[in-house]
Amino acid sequence: MAVGVRPGRTRNPGLRSRRRREWLSTLAFLSPWLLGTGLFFVYPLVTTAWLSFTKYDGFVSPTWDGLDNWTFVFHDYPFFWPAMRNTLWFVVVLVSLRIVAGLVLGLMVVHVKHGNSVLRTVFYAPFLAPPVAGTLAFVFLLNPGTGPVNTILGHLGVSAPNWFNDPSWSKPALTLLALWGVGDLMVIFMAALLDVPQELYEAASLDGAGAISRFRHITLPHLRPILVFAVVTGVIATMQYYTEPIVAGQVASGQIAGSGNQFEPGYPNGSTLTLPQLVYNLGFQRFDIGAACVIAMVLFVLSMAFAAFLMRRGHGFLAGED
């Protein structure tokens, strides 16, 4: 813990003015961020909390409403629990598959001796595809009419699903899209894998350990911090999961959301709804700002809980060396 000495505590006037100068330059370096944090973090957060207890449509001044919005969202709003269930689905299926895929690709690229930089590039590039472009590409690839995937599946004699137009296949389709963009995890795992001391593997091989037991007893323990990091950031990213599901739903249904127009979110049949979409739908399309702020608060509490967990568990990662 860094402890700064307050100016005025010391009797040495030279030291005192130096401390004051230090304090002033600290303030100067931090000032843009301090201002920004107040304006774009603290103020909106406090206001969101307050608005969640008011009735407000964005035009007439907000009026105090007590817990009405909260009971509405948790009891009567038909989309809240489906969105929570979808988020849980994405956490369990999408996040874990992404981690497994990232690890498999990382292991593979690390072990391939010839052409591994080409492989790394090919696996990493899709991660950079702008989310809207990637989603549009997948809605096309998987469209039941002219999509190449179903055409190929048809040639193979497989009866192909309707993907983004079928409530039970829309989440798997989004999962495929997320797996395509697994390059970020692959690179992180590769760095961690290259950090494992090679002597350990050699020693284990001499002791007769097979590939699987080497992986279990040497690789996995070394990857633990990175795995924790991948899980927690994956969960946080899922809570914010927005662009891909909303764009997929809109393009597949042919309806585009804009301020004020109303249609049921999460096409098809609410199967791609996530919490951030509810904030948009309630706040910007239905002008029920109080209820939108309740969802925003739920999002806030959930993401901060996981962020706090990451800060405690991933101490080394966040604190840096000091």
């Binding site: 813990m1 860094a2 700064g4 304090w23 330059s25 600290t26 370096f29 931090l30 843009p32 961020w33 920004g36 944090t37 909106p44 206001t47 969101t48 608005l51 964005g58 593979m108 391939v112 080409v118 790394r120 590039t121 090919v122 696996f123 990493y124 590039a125 899709p126 950079l128 595809a129 702008p130 989310p131 809207v132 472009a133 989603t135 549009l136 590409a137 096309f140 690839l141 002219t146 992180i188 961690a192 990091f229 991948a230 914010q240 393009v251 042919g254 585009i256 804009g258 951030p276 948009y280 706040g283 608060m297 999002l299 806030f300 993401s303 996981f306 962020a307 990662f317 604190a319 840096g320």
Partner: protein, 284 residues
């Protein structure tokens, strides 16, 4: 230890090599395939894109030119460039000093400040969007433009601050002390010593921010959707199919033109990228 028949051992090694490499190549093809199909469809004629054909016949190269004549496309490009270039420049200008202070200054509340940086980094943008929108709309009348997305970047970006600080911590202290002994103040130490030493980090953070702005969908949807003159590529692209009643070929041609610069930039700056991504997950 058992004595291994050396020829059997060698055969096994060769088989493993072949298995690993064919698996890798198959997966690589699978990962490249979406790009290939998008490009092939982008080059199909209007009639052909209504069929289940996979290969364009003939190649309609003019699609990639025709796209530029659809209403709005050049405007979206211009808006996206303004957002990404200005946003990146402002982010770097405002975040480097903050990262410097958090890396080197010792002051009361520094750990709290770091925690706030991390909290802002992890905060979903939807949490604070409503009050911010109301302020930009009611007090500044700037909705319908991209300024509500650009201006806040002049006040530091949490992710950039975090990443820059992590890099700065790797600069040996001796350099800073040498600068101090030579009579450099903090500002000069930052400009003359630290910034030149963390150039790769600045490149990585700049690229990340550029991509963030280029890819941003939620921001333009909130602030710009009401005014088509302020749309960006990401926002405009998804309206493309339904708004212009076009078929997949032109929609994919537009997608290619949104993908291309990003992929191109990646090839030009691959090293900075991979280093940056790695650092986000590396322990300090």
């Amino acid at each position: 230890m058992t004595v291994v028949d050396s020829s059997a051992y060698r055969r096994r090694q060769v088989l493993e090599w072949v298995a690993l490499h064919s698996f890798a190549v198959a997966l690589a093809l699978l990962f490249a395939l979406p790009f290939v199909f998008v490009l092939l469809t982008a080059l199909m004629s209007d009639q052909q894109s209504l069929t289940r054909d996979l290969w364009p016949q003939p190649f309609a190269w003019h699609n990639l030119v025709d796209i530029w004549h659809t209403p709005g496309f050049t405007t979206w490009w211009r808006n996206t460039l303004v957002y990404a270039v200005l946003g990146t420049a402002l982010t770097l200008l405002s975040s480097v000093p903050v990262a410097y202070a958090l890396a080197y200054f010792r002051f009361r509340g520094r750990n709290v400040a770091m925690m706030v940086v991390i909290a802002t980094m992890m905060l979903p943008p939807q949490v604070s969007i409503i009050p911010l929108y109301l302020v930009w709309a009611q007090n500044f009348h700037l909705t319908g433009t991209l300024w509500p997305l650009i201006i806040p970047l002049a006040f530091g970006d949490a992710f950039s601050i975090f990443l820059l600080r992590q890099f700065m911590l790797t600069v040996p202290r001796a350099y800073l002390e040498a600068a101090r002994i030579d009579g450099c103040g903090d500002f000069r130490t930052m400009i003359r010593v630290v910034i030149p030493m963390i150039k790769p980090a600045i490149a990585a953070v700049g690229l990340f921010q550029f991509f963030y702005c280029w890819n941003d969908y939620f921001g333009p949807q909130i602030y710009a959707s009401e005014n088509p003159g302020a749309w960006t590529l990401s926002y405009g692209l998804q309206t493309f199919k339904s708004a212009h009643h076009t078929d997949w070929n032109l929609t994919m041609a537009a997608t290619v033109l949104v993908l291309a610069p990003v992929i191109l930039l990646f090839f030009l700056a691959q090293k900075a990228f991979i280093e940056g991504v790695t650092l986000t997950g590396v322990k300090g």
